[in-house]
Amino acid sequence: MEWISYLGPLWQGAWVTIQLTLYSTVLGALLSFAAGIGKRSSIWPLRILSAVYVEVFRGTSLLVQLFWLYFALPLAGNAIGIDLRLDPVVAGVLALGLNIGAYGAEVVRGGLKSVSQQQLEAAQALNFTPRQTLWRISLPQAIPEMLPAFGNLAVQNLKDTALVSLISLGDLAFRAEQVRNFTQDSATVYTLVLLMYFGMALVLAGMIKLLEMSVGRWRTVSR
């Protein structure tokens, strides 16, 4: 029963992975809404800023973004005399959050676009301001539409966290590599890691499903 002894370090890594996923998904969600709403703003600098953010972070790979934040940013900071060295956790959360936020922004934009013209006309006829219409009519109707796509992004994000092991962050992938190096028992270690990622993904998807059910309750009522 060798493998039981692997569980300690692997669990330690899994805990880091969970935290990374949690923080970066929350950051990504905030960025998704900011940029997704920004892209439809009536203020053009906000539209441009949102579009640039989305294009840059969707157009480059997460790995490059991570390395840039962790290795290049401090050098750039050096050049102008500011200390921009980031803690690996901060760099990881930032890179993951910025990346997932760029994809999420498109989900938010699409969700808002799916709100029917008739709803917007009803809001206008009642003299809601554009801002009130966004927060009270459009978003509450669009969020249940967005959640399945957000769920996929969150699971994607969980899987992407494995990349942060490349900046020596002790996540699940990193610990797995350590244990494997130490024991040379690749088959067992990788099987355990696979199962652990899969378990976390299941829990995450379940949580999103619950959220979906609670915010979209009005969609399932019947006569």
């Binding site: 008739q118 006829a125 009005w218 009522v221």
Partner: protein
């Protein structure tokens, strides 16, 4: 809830509450409203009938500011809707002006357009609270009263999806009345309903319009309702009022051939 305008001091005939003067609406080359003149007096009930595509909805939608006009002038109680007076010139209206004017109008839609994610109660109270700044208590007592009037007091906590079409439209009417508009616009309020639900909605429109002395501009295909309800019937064709008159005159003695043709088609459809 009074919709009466003060009598003009010089005792000239009271100016209309709503006035369209030479209003034109085009989509590209397509002219939808063609030099339209239309007056609605305070308290008057005017119905618009006419063939599909003749511009009936467009009249209401431009009035509700859901659609812009191409040319002409619309006034509400003497004040331009789509323009602002600067000195003796008319400038395109600012958003603030449109908001002020919009507050005098209420609209009921063919497809109800209730907010599906809000309870019936919140459908009614949301705009009065957010837009008019009513307190929760004020808004709720207004809602309770109106739900009572439209026969839905027991349904306040349901979602629109749990109601029949007729019930939803009654909520739609109550929701518009919550804002206490001076003019109520109805765009085919019963066209989306199963036939057996039409009566309850028309009944509610009729009793509320009487009770509140509402000024009403309504597009409808319910001819017998138009006949009993309206002070005046306008027959629309090709973006103009082709003929107008009392319901009595239009329905028993239409002067224009097009009006006769239309009425024959809707009243005695060939099978």
């Amino acid at each position: 809830m009074s919709s009466q305008t003060p009598a003009s001091p010089d005792q000239t005939p009271a100016r209309p509450l709503v006035r369209f003067s030479k209003v034109t609406k085009r989509y590209g080359e397509h002219t939808v409203l063609d030099d339209l003149d239309l007056d609605v007096a305070a308290g008057e009930k005017v119905t618009i009938i006419g063939p599909s595509g003749s511009g009936k909805s467009t009249v209401l939608r431009i009035l509700m500011t859901l659609e812009t006009l191409t040319d002409g002038l619309i006034e509400i109680d003497g004040e331009p809707l789509w323009h602002e007076r600067r000195g003796d010139q008319l400038k395109p209206a600012s958003e603030a002006h449109l908001r002020k004017m919009r507050g005098q109008l209420g609209m009921v839609f063919q497809q109800f357009n209730l907010f599906p994610h809000m309870s019936v109660q919140r459908n009614l109270t949301e705009a009065p609270r957010q837009v008019l700044g009513l307190s929760r208590k004020e808004a709720q007592s207004r809602a309770t009263e109106l739900l009572e009037r439209v026969g839905l007091a027991d349904h306040a906590n349901k979602y629109p999806g749990q109601l029949s079409g007729g019930q939803q439209q009654r909520v739609g009417i109550a929701r518009a009345l919550m804002m206490r508009p001076r003019v109520m616009l109805f765009d085919e309020p019963t066209s989306a309903l199963d036939p057996e639900l039409v009566g309850e909605v028309l009944h509610v429109i009729r009793t509320l319009a009487d009770e509140h002395d509402l000024t009403v501009l309504m597009v409808t295909h319910e001819m017998s309702f138009a006949r009993r309800f309206s002070d005046r019937v306008c027959f629309f064709d090709k973006g103009r009022i082709h003929e107008q008159g009392t319901p009595e005159q239009i329905f028993t003695d239409p002067r224009e051939a097009r009006t006769r043709e239309f009425l024959r088609a809707v009243l005695e459809p060939d099978v």
